[in-house]
Amino acid sequence: MSNSAVETDSHAAHGPELLHHFVTAEQQRNTASLAMWLFLATEVMFFGGMFCAYLIYRYWYYNEFAAGSRSLNIWLGTVNTVVLIGSSLTVALGVRAAQMGKRKLLVVLLLLTLLLGLVFLGVKGVEWHDKYVEHHIPGASFSVADLVREYPQLHIDQSHAQIFFSLYFAMTGMHALHMVIGVGLFIYLTIKAWKGTYGPQYYTPVELGGLYWHFVDIIWIYLFPLLYLIDRKPLK
């Protein structure tokens, strides 16, 4: 900090959003930004444990993971990927709108992001319902008899397949939970944006919300290939 010692600030010198333990608005912004990046680092470690488990079991139980992968709906997964990438676009544009002081545009973009997020969750719900119907949800009524029939050459072991689906639901479930939190966050941001809270002077929450949303998007960008795509090479 190159500022000289500052006594109690007069409120005329800064907007109402500057918290009193900060010296300048810039310090507050930088702090919030660093905090969010560090939080996202913790989220990487959090998901990392599951990715680690998934990669190890995929190596051990390749056949069952291949069959499990193929039983996922690649079209719905693709739709969801496009939806999420689109929502990251809308949120990035939203941050820009806030920077430029365009309140109405910001509200529209935040709403769009929110809606695309809900579309994602809806499609996910459809996929999970399919899994439910196919008895692929781990637990008492779990059965991969259908996969065994479809891929006799893979010699699928039911318990190994259940591990695939356990990890599938754990990973997509945890991701969906983060999406739900994101949707909640964006409802809050939309309401605040509509009230005119954000502008070129102060748009940190939009920026941080955007960062969070991008992160959830990136997790999906890893999940989609790992779960849906990489075990689809032709079987022997």
């Binding site: 190596y59 051990w60 139980y61 056949n63 050459q153 010699h155 699928i156 072991d157």
Partner: protein, 325 residues
């Protein structure tokens, strides 16, 4: 008074002196370091006690000292590492011709079966001076087979074999403890390792009834139908098992693995995991159809197909592989 205040466990295996030697070295090193540091501190505390008119001398540091007391400890640590690693390597490398004993752990008892067929519960009789390899599995949770007098310990896992070996050097009765917390009677899952002289051991062996594990395994091999596919003349739908134990096996996915104890076990419990090159994955799954004891007998039987007739059995190099590799 001293004999009633034991401070040292008995040492009754070939590994015990090596482990004790390193331990004593480390203890001496620790005593020297502790006394040394304490002495220096006490001297400084006394000599530089606060006195009126005498100020502290500000000293920044010394790169030479920093490097010195980083590099020298590091070198000492590397020495200790190497010494410990050598002992560990010996502990993990059972000699080729070890007698084999199968251990099945369950809450809260040790079921032991010698390859010659004797069964024991919470007791392990061994002859002095003979290499013994324990092939262990658990029926339920993780346990650990610990013989303090031999200085050996190995966790016992459900779903796979783990091994340890020893050669006892002194007749006597020694503690056997479970050393991995396993529930209510974890502290009750204890027993005795009875080391006997060769003649006493033979007398004890003579008291057994029933056949060897390999012969029980052979009976199972017939009754479970294994023999219909795994024919000795290699004409069956499954590979012949004669001579395969301890040798590399080419699998249909291109990998080569060594046919160790875990491989044989996995092939019975989860055959599709590793299919031999040139064969179809049609072997039925036996998980849930055989008990751990029956499994052990089958494994012993398959191993017996690789040994020279009569005399000692051979042991594959201590497995590094898990059932999934």
């Amino acid at each position: 008074m001293i004999d009633h205040f034991p401070l040292w466990p008995p040492g009754a295996s070939t590994m015990a002196p090596s482990v004790d030697a390193l331990f004593i070295f480390l203890t001496l090193l620790s005593v020297v370091m502790t006394v040394g540091i304490f002495a220096v501190i006490i001297v400084f505390l006394a000599k530089y006690r606060r006195r009126k008119g005498v100020d502290a001398t500000p000293i920044h540091g010394s790169v030479v000292l920093e490097l010195g007391w980083s590099i020298i400890p590091l070198m000492v640590f590397m020495l200790i590492f190497a010494w410990g690693a050598v002992i560990f390597f010996q502990e993990r490398t059972p000699p080729r011709s070890s007698a084999e004993v199968y251990v099945v752990a369950k809450q809260w008892m040790w079921k032991i079966e010698h390859s010659e067929g004797q069964r024991e519960l919470n007791e392990l009789h061994v002859p002095v001076g003979r290499d013994v390899r324990l092939i262990m599995t658990s029926q339920d949770v993780i346990h650990s087979f610990y013989i303090p007098a031999f200085r050996i310990k190995q966790d016992v896992l459900p779903g796979r074999y783990t091994m340890e070996w020893f050669r006892a050097t002194k007749p006597g009765t020694y503690h056997l403890f479970c050393a991995e917390y396993c529930g209510t009677m974890h502290s009750g899952m204890i027993g005795d390792v009875v080391v006997m002289t060769q003649p006493d051991y033979e007398a004890w062996m003579a008291g057994k009834t029933g056949g060897t594990m390999a012969s029980s395994g052979s009976d199972l091999f017939q009754s479970l139908g294994c023999v219909t596919c795994h024919r000795a003349d290699a004409q069956g739908r499954g590979p012949s098992l004669v001579g395969i134990y301890g040798k590399p096996v080419l699998l249909e996915d291109g990998r080569t693995v060594v046919a160790d104890d875990n491989y044989v076990r996995e092939s019975i419990m989860s055959p599709a995991a590793k299919v031999v090159n040139g064969y179809k994955p049609i072997m039925p799954v036996f998980q849930g159809l055989v008990t751990d004891e029956q499994l052990n007998s089958l494994v012993a039987y398959v191993k017996s197909l690789s040994q020279p007739p009569a005399g000692t059995q051979s042991a594959a190099a201590d497995t590094k592989s898990s059932p999934k590799e």
